[in-house]
Assembly symmetry: C2
Homo-oligomer: 165 residues x 2
């Protein structure tokens, strides 16, 4: 295994592990759980779920995987805080979008070769990328992995069992 | 900038940003806040703080930076769940350890060259590392960054202001 392949494996291992963790938590939670606030006055589970789908949807154009699939989620789950938009998709609808998205993105992510991950993402210019080669596609996976971990730490708090982690 | 230098920058940028975020939250929280549970029946802030220091302390031997500085924290904050150990350090004491640790680790982390980060960490054998070169020192930084992000997502919930992220 070459060094760049090892680097890609390190980051993608994190991504896929965190997606799996989120998915596992989602399958444990009921729709009622998702409609509860994580902590009184803070985001509801349903908002976190929609927020994850919206943020990951935004990765498609950044990684040159195509257009966003769910542009309708940007306003309620990215540009607005929770409870600012009256009509949100239901928990059931958001569960279906999450599953569809994972199924769509996973083979695309796995199809890239190691060298591809060190190419620039689409939101940086060629000139800037020449000076800042860390602004590559793999960095999109890395920053979205820590973002997913951050919200997974919150999402799991909706579980009823007395988890200590 | 070489590819391995770009990769190191990507990971260390995440680490330092997350340490800063945790530090910022810690400075906003009062000792009373730290003694509250994040969610009823779950970990208290003080446990999360001690848990972070204990996990990061464990990075010192893994990265060949020396021995653990706070071995006394392993039992209460790594091997035991919250509220299982009667006598914990105070919030004030843990704040001091966190600050001391950041000051100790930061220059050590910055002193490594890019190539050093792709050497094996101390818990993997040379034979295994030859087959699994992703088990390197940089991967320790990466996995602890997602761990820190996970708990930062919980830690920030102790803030009184109505944050939506």
């Amino acid at each position: 295994m070459k060094q760049n392949e090892a680097m890609v494996k390190m980051v993608l291992d994190r991504w896929f592990a965190l997606v799996k963790d989120f998915d596992t938590t989602l399958n444990v939670l009921t729709d009622d759980d998702l409609n509860r606030e994580i902590v009184s006055g803070k985001n509801r589970g349903i908002y976190l779920l929609g927020h994850m789908v919206a943020v990951h949807d935004d990765m498609l154009p950044l990684l040159d995987f195509g257009q966003k699939m769910y542009p309708q989620l940007q306003q309620p789950f990215l540009k607005s805080p929770d409870k600012a938009v009256a009509q949100l998709p239901t928990a059931k609808e958001l569960r279906a979008l999450w599953a569809e998205q994972v199924n769509y993105m996973t083979p695309k992510i796995k199809s890239l070769q190691a060298a591809d991950w060190f190419e620039k993402h689409t939101a940086v210019s060629a000139d800037d990328f020449a000076k800042e080669p860390h602004r590559n596609k793999l960095n999109i996976m890395l920053t979205r992995s820590t973002h997913l971990a951050y919200h997974q730490g919150q999402f799991i708090l909706l579980e009823h069992k007395n988890t200590n982690d």
